[in-house]
C-alpha cells in the first residue's frame, strides 16, 4: 500500500480518498457504466447471438421462408422491401427488452448495494443500462440492414431520409429500453423481467410490418392500426422507398416521444423508490 491514509490518531478518523470533479462526474460515471455493460455483452454467448446472429436469421427467415408466401397487398412491393423496417425494429427491440433483465439482475443481486455506497448519482445506474442497450441494439439493427442489402433490399432514400430512419430506430430502441427499464424495476426477479421480451417480440407481428394490416380480421386490424409499430414502420417504409408518408410520421414521433417522456422519469422514480433507505 503506497499511501496509508487511514491512520487513527486518537482524535478522529482521517478523510478517505475523496472524489474529484463536480458537474462532469455524472457524465463520466455514465460512460463507465456503459463501458461495463458493453464489456459484459461481449462476454455472454447468448447475448452475442441475440445481437449478431438473430438479426441475420430473422431477415433470412422472412425474406426466404415466409417471403414467398406473403403477398404485400395493395402496396405491390417486393417482400424484402416490405419487411425490412419491421426486421430492423425486431432486431433492435428484442435486445432492448433484455434491458429489463440486466437491470433486474443488478437490483436483486448484491451489486446495487455496492453502487449505493459509491458517491455516484443513483440514476446513472439504470441510465447506463439504457444507453448501453441503445448502442448495442443499433448495432444489431445495422447488422440486419447489412443482411437485407445482401438479400436484395434496394432502398431509394436520400441522406436526410437515412438520418430520419436512424433517428426512428434509435427512438424505438430507446423507447423499448426505457419501457424495459421500468418493467425491470417493477418486478422482483430476472425471470419475470425476461417476460417483457415476449411482448416486444410479439408486437411487430400484429402490425403493418410483416403482413399488410389490411389483410387482418377486424379486431387484429384495429389493434395493428393503433399500436405504435404500425406508424413507425410505415414511416420507415416511406423514407426508405421514397413513398408518400401521410400522417404516419407525426404519429410515430408522438408515440416514441410519449413513451420516452413517460418511461424515463418513471424509471428514475422507481429506481429511487427501490433504493431509498426504508
Amino acid at each position: 500500500m503506497s499511501a496509508p491514509v487511514t491512520a487513527a490518531d486518537g482524535r478522529g478518523v482521517s478523510a478517505p480518498l475523496t472524489a474529484t470533479g463536480g458537474g462532469m462526474s455524472a457524465a463520466g460515471d455514465l460512460r463507465r457504466l456503459v463501458v461495463r455493460d458493453l464489456r459484459r455483452d461481449m462476454r455472454v454467448l447468448d447475448g452475442l447471438i441475440v445481437n449478431t446472429a438473430l438479426p441475420v436469421m430473422i431477415m433470412v427467415l422472412f425474406v426466404y421462408v415466409f417471403g414467398g408466401a406473403i403477398s404485400t397487398g395493395s402496396s405491390g412491393l417486393d417482400y424484402v422491401d416490405f419487411v425490412v423496417p419491421a426486421v430492423l425494429l425486431m432486431s433492435g427491440g428484442y435486445g432492448a427488452a433484455l434491458t429489463a433483465v440486466t437491470i433486474s439482475d443488478d437490483m436483486t443481486g448484491g451489486m446495487i448495494d455496492r453502487f449505493r455506497t459509491l458517491p455516484i448519482s443513483g440514476w446513472v445506474v439504470p441510465a447506463g443500462h439504457v444507453v448501453a442497450s441503445v448502442i448495442r441494439n443499433l448495432a444489431s439493427s445495422a447488422i440486419a440492414l447489412a443482411a437485407a442489402l445482401l438479400l436484395g433490399f434496394r432502398p431509394d432514400a436520400s441522406l436526410t431520409d437515412w438520418a430520419l430512419v436512424l433517428a426512428l430506430v434509435t427512438g424505438y430502441v430507446l423507447a423499448m429500453s426505457a419501457l424495459a427499464a421500468v418493467w425491470g424495476l417493477l418486478v422482483s426477479s430476472s425471470q419475470a423481467a425476461g417476460a417483457f421480451s415476449f411482448v416486444v417480440l410479439f408486437l411487430p407481428y400484429v402490425s403493418d410490418g410483416i403482413v399488410p394490416a389490411e389483410t387482418m380480421p377486424g379486431v387484429l386490424r384495429g389493434f395493428a392500426d393503433h399500436q405504435p409499430l404500425t406508424p413507425i414502420i410505415d414511416t420507415m417504409r416511406a423514407l426508405l422507398l421514397d413513398l408518400p408518408m401521410g400522417s404516419s410520421g407525426a404519429a410515430a414521433t408522438a408515440w416514441l416521444a410519449g413513451i420516452v417522456a413517460i418511461c424515463v422519469p418513471l424509471a428514475a422514480l422507481l429506481f429511487r423508490r427501490r433504493t431509498s433507505a426504508r
Binding site: A8, V13, R39, G109, D113
Partner: protein
Amino acid sequence: MNAIHSRPFTDAIRARGLTKSFGANRVLAGVDLTVPTGSLLALLGPNGSGKTTTVRILTTLLAPDGGTATVGGHDVTRDGVAVRRMIGLTSQQATVDDLLTGRENLELFAGLYHLGRRRARRRADELLERFGLTAAAGRRAGTYSGGMRRRLDLAASMVSEPPILFLDEPTTGLDPRSRAELWSVIRELLASGTTILLTTQYLEEADQLADRVVVINGGRVVADDSPAALKRQVGAERLALRPAEPADLARAGAALPGAHPDAEAGELTLALQDPDHLRRALDQLHRAGIPVGHVELRTPTLDDVFFELTAAAA
C-alpha cells in the same frame, strides 16, 4: 482534509437503541453498540439475529424505525452522503461483476470514485497485490474460488481507502485455508488504522480478530465484552461426559456444579474454566462413585454461548 471529516470523535461507530421491524416481524429490538476508532468489533449471532439489518442501517442502506447511529461522526439517517464517503461495505451477497476481470472490477469502482484513469489503474494494481490477486487479475471474477471472490470484494470495498469498513459475514462458506488468508488481510487493515465492524456466526473468528464482541440474538444485545471475558463466561472448552451407567446421569449432574445434564443425549456438558478444571471434575465424579463411560472435549459453539448467556440471565 475538509472540516467535516476532521471533527474530533473517538468512536468511529456509535449506535443507540436501534429498532427495526419488517411488517409484524421485529428484527431489531433496541441495539446499542460502540466501535472505538481503529478497533475491530465482531457482531456475533446466529442467522436471523439482526446482524445484517444492523449493518444495513449503519451503512445507510436501510433506515431504522427508532434509535440513532453515527458513523464517522455523521448521523446515518440525516447525513447519509457524508457517511458513505467514510465507509466501505462488503455484504454477504457478492458485490463484484462476475463477467468482468478482477482488474476491470477494481478499475470500474476506482473510476466511480473519480480517481482518474491513471490513478485508478495504480490503485487497482496496489489492491490486487495487497489482496493476493495479481496472478488472477486478468481472469473473470466468475471463475474465482470462494476465497478469491471475497478478497476481490474486500479489495473493491477498499478502493477509496475508507477509514471505516463493514464486513458482513466475510468468511461464511469459505474453507479453513481461505478463511485464514482473509483473517490475515483483515488484521493488516486493522493494523493500518481501519476501523472494522465484522459480523460472524463463528465464535472463533470473533476471538481471532476482535477487540470487542457484541453478541446479538433476536434483535437484542445479549453480551458486549472482550473476547477473553466472553470466553471466561462461556468456558474455553466444554467437557461432554457420559456416565458408564446411563441411570447415573442425574447423580453426575448433581455432583458437578455448573454442569448441564441432557437426558435426551444421555450426556452432561460442563464449561471448563481452565485446564485443571477437567481433573477436578473427574475427581468429583470419582469421589461420588460414578464410573465414567465416555469423555470428550469440545470447543464452545455459538449455541453454547447463547445457552450460557441466556442461562445466566434467567
